[in-house]
Amino acid sequence: MDNPYVRQALRATRTGAADPELEVDQWLDRLDYALEGALAEDPVEEAWELLSMWAALERIRPEFFERAGAADTRAQAERRLAEDGPGLASSALARVDPERWLQEAERLAEAMAEAGFESEDEQVHRAADLVQDLDEAQLLVYALERWAPDEKAIAELSDHLRECEQWLGANAELVGDASVLIQAIALTLRPELEQMDPALARTAAKFPGLLDAVTAMERELTLEDIEPLSPEELAAMPESAVGTDNASDLQWLPTAGEPPLAAASGASPPHILWRGLWYEPGGTRTARLVVLAEPAPDDQLVHLTFQDIHGHPVETLTGTSVRLGGVASTIERAIARFRLGDLRAAAGEPELWVGSQRWKLQDER
């Protein structure tokens, strides 16, 4: 049976970076923390944690539940919920605020449209908070249905949460930065949730759509969907856009026999034919390419190296597709390799695209 909550195409899922057991461990700990009375002074917070974390454990895969040793905690929670369910429910209901969630969601959309966040970190956290908080509110509704069934209150809240879920469905790409969290939570889910408990499956219904969105985003970033142009398509393009064998005046990388530009300017040692430094827009990472003037065959590989502000290799870009002057490569351990002949043949400007982002060239020639 296909698991609707798993996308093996996603790299963080394949490599195990998205860690479902970490999420389970946290839910269990939060439930324990509330049961141990650490939140007793704030009944509203305590109620939210007891109800939503109990429900979170209900939908996880049995093997995770067992490995986490969650049985005692769940039994203890169920005793507490059986005793205090209605009181906890009224406390928790007082705090759920879908309107505020929608405002925050709109703020995220506006900020992303205007590049309005102070940092990438803030953007990631805002996206993750929205996903996580909506999920917990939906789990809360599920728990209320079980432990304090006030149909009118639950129906009202469910309607509001549906609006939030619709927003998320329509704007899934905006929370793509929380991709690893989304994958980690989804990986905890029992694949047979729909057959087992449709009400519980409702709390997880947003994940397949979110996973599809982050899959599309990852494909776009790695340029997996870009197919080479067919000969017919190439023929239909204006010559200036294609680059031709005799368009040497358009080539940015001179051949080895030409006078090195760097040497001509006196700015660099004479054995360097061409070198370039590109900056990540708004970031601190750089990419550097050095081509030596010594004669070399076309199939020799040259290295475009990625470094952080301290000059250390940026290993985190591994797997990212790059295009330099239209020539494609993939970063492996902070290096993208190109055939020298391909770069020699490249026409136009030495534009560098890293994923979907164009880096800015500081001309060092």
Binding site: A12, E41, V180
Partner: protein, 253 residues
């Protein structure tokens, strides 16, 4: 106070402590300006100030932590006379040294590229890059309240979970908004207070931070607190009794 002064600038002697992996002596913050900024944003700003007080009671010998005016006056005085922070800074370094020592003893540290991150049994996360960039207690307080003053310390400002679904009264975690010991806490000893109010929320914050610290490919975006996830025991293995045993093992009973 132990620790050799490395630099004396503006009347403040910078201290050193041992790196948890290499054993090399490392300066605690780059310069007096960073010391001032760090003490202001972490040790003297509520609610983290309360956590530091619980973690390292000798800090209270430097000033009355319960008195916000006293904290504010100290900071004002230090603006023109950085040596005014020496006593507090020295005690703070002692606390960080103890935490880093715990991390070394328990293996709660992780190294990547030029950065080392470690966690002590009191909940202090220390980041070496290569000198100490920050020593802070994650999981305290509402991020909105402190973000403005912590713009230079992105690690701490993102160690908070913002909760947009919870109404105004629930915007911040209750754990962080509380100040005075409440009913239940009156029955707790200082170990329980440290465990429930400082250490456990800190570990929760570290774990919560992990998936957010990765890029879409699952690789770390920065070398920061998220790296600790793989070296920490499961939360179920960090219950109060076990934590006490670990503290005893580290000589901090």
């Amino acid at each position: 106070m132990s620790g050799n002064p490395e630099t004396i600038t503006g009347g403040l002697s910078l201290r050193e402590l041992e790196h948890p992996v290499t054993g090399q002596r490392v300066t605690v913050y780059r310069d007096p300006g960073r010391v001032h900024q760090h003490l202001r944003d972490h040790v003297l700003s509520a609610p983290e100030s309360e956590a530091w007080r619980l973690l390292w009671p000798p800090l209270e010998e430097s000033l009355d932590f319960d008195d916000p005016d006293a904290r504010w006056h100290l900071l004002r005085r230090a603006e023109s006379e950085s040596g005014a922070l020496q006593d507090l800074y020295d005690r703070h370094v002692e606390a960080v040294r103890a935490e880093v020592g715990n991390a070394a003893a328990l293996g709660w540290h992780r190294w990547r590229e030029h950065t080392t991150v470690c966690l002590g049994t009191g909940g202090v996360v220390t980041i070496f890059a290569p000198m100490i960039r920050t020593a802070m207690i994650p999981g305290m307080g509402e991020p909105e309240a402190t973000r403005r003053t912590q713009a230079l310390d992105a690690t701490s400002s993102c160690m908070w979970r913002h909760r947009p679904m919870r109404g105004a009264s629930g915007a911040a975690s209750s754990r962080s908004r509380r100040r005075a010991p409440l009913e239940r806490e009156r029955g707790w000893d200082r170990h329980q207070r440290l465990y429930y109010r400082v250490f456990r929320p800190a570990v929760q914050a570290v774990r919560q931070h992990h998936p957010r610290s990765l890029n879409v490919y699952g690789q770390p975006r920065h070398n920061d607190v998220g790296l600790l996830k793989d070296v920490l025991p499961r939360q179920s293995e960090l219950k109060f009794q076990r934590w006490r045993e670990l503290r005893d093992h580290c000589g901090r009973s």
